[in-house]
Symmetry: C2
Subunit: 162 residues, 2 copies
């Protein structure tokens, strides 16, 4: 069975007891979370977020540059005034370089992906510091509190990076 069929079935149960149909569009807690797409990380459960609380932007690595379009929309149109960056231990982004994935794509897919910066990193803590700096320095991002964490997939804990 495809996962699509499975999520349809799971959603029917979710909808059957759904009672949050009148939440407003702007996030109640006025925060945007920028997190990695990693399967082991559930930002809502790990950070105590309920439906309606926060924008959750996720991409490979939880990289700030890739989230910029979404952050500008979040701040300019939907009123968020705080940003949290969440990377994690054992991240896939530690396991390759642009050269490696571009070569794989050239070999396996017979395609050229040299125009894509895949944004891998070699140091977890530095990857958070880099993304905090990008957000603090961007002239398109408001001067709001920005906090960075590493989520430990081994323990479920977040550890502040500063």
């Amino acid at each position: 069975m495809s996962v699509a069929r499975e999520v349809e079935s799971a959603n029917a149960k979710y909808a059957a007891s759904f009672n949050k149909g009148d939440l407003p569009l702007p996030p109640a807690r006025k925060v945007a979370i920028v997190a990695c797409m990693d399967a082991r990380l559930d930002p809502a459960r790990a950070l105590g977020l309920e439906e309606g609380d926060a924008h959750v932007i996720r991409n490979a690595g939880g990289r700030a540059t890739d989230a910029l379009r979404s952050i500008v929309i979040s701040q300019q149109l939907l009123g968020t005034r705080e940003i949290i960056v969440l990377h994690h231990t054992d991240c896939g982004m530690l396991t390759f370089t642009d050269d490696v994935i571009r070569h794989k794509i050239r070999t396996d897919l017979k395609q050229n992906a040299d125009h894509i910066a895949f944004l891998p990193f070699g140091d977890l803590r530095q990857s958070v510091l880099d993304d905090l700096a990008i957000l603090k320095d961007s002239e398109l991002v408001l001067n709001v509190p920005v906090t960075g964490y590493l989520y430990e997939v081994e323990t479920g804990r977040i550890v502040k990076v500063e």
Copy 2:
């Protein structure tokens, strides 16, 4: 109190009963979800995903082009072989155009954002169809099952778009 302090407190509770410290890096259900960042949408709860199940990529609108870097990494390095696209009713992306947000940025921030395509849309159903087509047509994306849904923020239900 900042939201950062609040999530630290919530995370301490999550970590106290955490028992999923040995999950593997590749998603168990071999699926990548591309969803909107909207605060009212919790993909894990709404689709029945547990930690370890799926890559969850989220951005303003749940747009495919903005997710392409992450999808290529998900497929080429971490073995996902299905994609689910999830947009939703009452989306903020229905409320503006590139001209509107670029003008706001020029006026309020005194900055130029004409180089950013903010990817708003005028028709929800078409936005899902467009993103399914982008994924199916991209030569960097594998030929895998791709299914699109609209999540109803009013009811909690997902409705297939085809």
